[in-house]
């Protein structure tokens, strides 16, 4: 069974007819062609690499049906940079070597962008807890923490 949906992703409206069982993550990747949002576990909703924002809140896009995003605003990693300039989080991840394979990075960025709005001056412990839903197999997290701290500072000063 299909349904017509209109889903806005990074400000662009995508109007499609989609099967009801299509996952939001597959809509983003296959229908909108935005492959920055990754699929790691797809089953338990544990790995977090599919994290996007729906109406400004971090959610795991493999845990939602595409039809649940009908009429809503989705933000993905492709929308983070603006006017050709990387987001302060992206710059800090680059400077601190906070990614190795980079598979987890889009989800971490989209989760953390919301987290820093909620808590602009987090402690290291708070940052670590904010990342429970995002698994990184490469970095050991230390550089990710450093990058988030740097970005938080710059965002506070901005």
């Amino acid at each position: 069974m299909n349904k017509d949906v209109k889903i806005s992703i990074n400000g662009v409206a995508y109007e499609k007819s989609v099967p009801l069982r299509m996952l939001l993550v597959d809509f983003i990747r296959d229908e909108a062609g935005l492959t920055g949002t990754h699929i790691g576990c797809t089953y338990e909703g544990r790995c977090g690499t599919c994290t996007v924002q729906m109406d400004g809140e971090a959610v795991k896009s493999c845990m939602l049906l595409a039809v649940q995003a009908d009429g809503r605003e989705i933000a993905t990693v492709e929308g983070l940079a603006s006017n050709g300039r990387l987001h302060p989080l992206q710059e800090a991840f680059n400077e601190h070597h906070a990614l190795q394979c980079g598979f987890c990075t889009p989800g971490i960025l989209m989760n953390t962008e919301e987290f820093l709005k909620e808590n602009p001056d987090p402690s290291e412990a708070e940052i670590r807890r904010s990342l429970v839903g995002n698994i990184c197999r490469c970095t050991g997290y230390d550089h990710i923490i450093d990058a988030i701290q740097t970005a938080a500072k710059r965002l506070r000063q901005a």
Binding site: M1, L20, G45, M63, Q68, N111, G133
Partner: protein
């Protein structure tokens, strides 16, 4: 993993419309709250969701109100909303504690208190919390008929409750405190904020001099369902925050009475130890919240 064919998706805006849709499908529809448990089950093909009824657009099922008669919580209130809700501080603060340690940020942005109670997973955080808070659960059937079930009768067994397939959970109410009251929840998991090996929720009411007059001590993570310990509650009444021996006797009595089982991951003795140590911490916290740190 991909869900099996879904034939219909409805996102009604009112409880009445949701109940009408449930009736039309003869109780065979799959209700979505936050979807954080049900989507796992659908993708694993444990549930075949021919028709999905998403409660996400029903504003009347969301929100917290606290007044002289107690508290009323909409089942679609999300963990993220509970975490931030200062109205719950003091008597109902165990809800803030429990909500803030469920899963991860993304799960807390979607998952709901009602979904957790209806799913009734053995180690979930909300069941012991609302049990300690002596909640009453309002269930509404198609046609609008309501019944209210005391929380002690709501949970039947692992993943089972007294809710009938055609009923929706429409409200969770908590009684008003008679004296000064405080509550607290804490869990221990193998990973930070993971599903707990043991979770303990405690509610304490005190008289003017800080002596406990009412105690409710509930434990999750034990088979077959979340339980209260009458032995611990009996021992806690009459204690004060400073009575370390009395509190230790109470938590030891809980570990003895609830007699948790061991499994592949954890020995029974470890679960007993956790009931005692977490129990001591949450009792101290609940006293502190009830008395404002005095006594």
């Amino acid at each position: 993993m991909y869900p099996a064919i879904i034939e219909e998706y409805l996102a009604p805006a009112t409880v009445a419309d949701a109940l009408a849709a449930i009736a039309k499908h003869d109780g065979e529809a799959t209700v979505f709250a936050g979807g954080m448990s049900v989507m796992q089950a659908i993708k694993a093909r444990l549930i075949e969701a021919r028709c999905v009824i998403d409660l996400g657009n029903i504003a009347e099922l969301r929100g917290v109100s606290v007044g002289p008669d107690g508290a009323a919580i909409g089942p679609m209130t999300r963990y993220a909303d509970l975490v931030r809700d200062k109205k719950l501080h003091g008597a109902y603060q165990a809800l803030n504690d429990a909500a803030s340690t469920v899963g991860d940020r993304q799960v807390r942005n979607r998952g709901t208190i009602g979904g957790s109670l209806c799913w009734n997973y053995i180690a979930a955080c909300m069941p012991p919390t609302v049990l300690a808070l002596d909640a009453r659960i309002e269930l509404t059937a198609p046609g609008g008929g309501k019944r209210t079930v005391p929380i002690g009768e709501f949970f039947l067994g692992a993943l089972e409750t007294v809710r009938r397939d055609e009923e929706l959970m429409t409200k969770i109410t908590l009684p008003a405190a008679k004296g000064k009251a405080g509550s607290s929840y804490k869990k221990w998991s193998t990973q930070v904020d993971g599903l707990p090996i043991i979770g303990v929720a405690v509610y304490i009411e005190t008289d003017g001099s800080g002596v406990c007059t009412v105690a409710r001590f509930a434990v999750g993570g034990i088979l077959p369902i979340v339980k209260r310990s009458a032995a611990a509650e009996g021992q806690l009444v009459g204690t004060k925050a400073s009575d370390a021996d009395g509190i230790a006797r109470a938590t030891a009595a809980a570990a003895e009475e609830l007699d948790p089982q061991g499994d592949r991951w954890v020995q029974a003795a470890y679960r007993k130890l956790l009931i005692q140590s977490l129990g001591g911490e949450v009792v101290a916290k609940a006293f502190e919240r009830a008395t404002g740190g005095a006594a």
